[in-house]
Symmetry: C2
Subunit: 301 residues, 2 copies
Amino acid sequence: MGANLCLALAGSGARVQAFGRSRIISAVCNNVTWMNGLSDDPSAVVRAIEGNNIVFHLIGASTPASSNKDPIADLNACVINTLKMLDICRESGVRRVIFASSGGTIYGVPQSVPIREDHPTEPISAYGVSRLAIEKYLSLYKYLHNLDYIILRIANSYGRYQVPTKKQGVIAAMMINVLNGVPLEFWGTGAAVRDFIHIDDVVEAMIASIFYEGPIRVFNVGSGIGRSINQVATDIERMFPNTIAHRVYREARPGDVPTNVLDIGLIKQEMNWSPEVAWQAGLKDTADWLRDFLEAGGPAH
Amino acid sequence: MGANLCLALAGSGARVQAFGRSRIISAVCNNVTWMNGLSDDPSAVVRAIEGNNIVFHLIGASTPASSNKDPIADLNACVINTLKMLDICRESGVRRVIFASSGGTIYGVPQSVPIREDHPTEPISAYGVSRLAIEKYLSLYKYLHNLDYIILRIANSYGRYQVPTKKQGVIAAMMINVLNGVPLEFWGTGAAVRDFIHIDDVVEAMIASIFYEGPIRVFNVGSGIGRSINQVATDIERMFPNTIAHRVYREARPGDVPTNVLDIGLIKQEMNWSPEVAWQAGLKDTADWLRDFLEAGGPAH
């Protein structure tokens, strides 16, 4: 997400300062000032934020499954560091913080789909709880300190620069398994439904959030279309007709919701944003990048 | 709240283990095993919880105003310590955790009153955000580890053992000022509306929560009646006809909502609970205790 956002921002002529632990951003993003650092190092975060107008807060590290094994570590890494960052933002005069929240975990098990932003938020993972806490603190800092924000509750994003070895992104993980001729792994029956959104569309929503001047502060970002994991596997296999992938079904993980499809009517109306990348084109783009990535040396790239 | 709960539980024949920093519980509660300790000391919390069936989690310390000055300290003191406690509860085989949440702060500025439990939760204080995070983790621990819980979103409670010097409880604070002949202090215009509930009614709801076997997990606990702070001041002054109290109006504090009245239909229906203490009787009971408290030596008691 960070690499794609940096490329788009720098490509549009913005002055971009990136901060974190990504090896990809420093490798692929020209015209971006890269600072390698940890989010629990306040002096480094001050240097990264100072002088900047907009802060994109793309928090990472844990997954729903890993967060449930150590909720305290997840809370410390995500929420405490975010609060420190928000204090730095308000002291530095940042105009707006744009937070990549989690449309896939923040609602919990949906009462109905597609899920609107006013659906109850009952996460079944510590990952979802900590994202929700960050959302509430953003609203609090606006109220107390007039630090502006936009929250994007992003569905399952996929596309270029999603490194499949990092255990995130079911599409990238499946594609690399098909390419390597190893079985596709499923947590549960594969009937779970997700809302997949191409990273280019996510980046467009992020950029639109810079300029949005309306009153809404929380938006879903997804395709609005639900696809089962089994169907995604079938769609991916059809892209590689010379391969036959076995499917291995493992026990479902606690913290994975059975279904998640986002209602995207609000962001369409407010920001005039719509998903533009068609499913087949998005898969092909992702597969093309992944092949190049593997040919260039794979994860060591 | 702790002292009143301990007295009621011990009076009904329960074996009660109390833990914390309260000097009042150790002074007034016979038949209660008291352990002085800090909630960030895991080995002390283990000793307090081991062998007990029900844990009442009455978290304290910060106020909405103080929490906003240091949200990180509030989050550490409240949420991190609660997560450590929940791990101890599940390892110790606790049957149910009953959490005293905050009906006054968790909803934020209400869209309408009375406020139902399904009203959006948009706190305007870090105090409210940390209570909300605790609620979400309770739900998560039920889902992940089958640790049962009941959340009581309690309105402004008042009554015996609310020590007015601890800056909590507007009724106790006003009464002591009237008795001492010093001006009544208001944050804002005094037009703010609150839902006051006598501590005896709160304790009844807590005890009912031990035995509740229905499916609901989150309940408002209040009177369902809104009273302005100015009206409360007038009602208190009428109890002390020989005194004339000046009123001093200070600037409103961020984090105080303009109005808060809870809808208590759900707990009435599910637990057959209703507030029993009438307003005038509750005020008189509180004033009587406060006079005795002051005559016995006041805050040094």
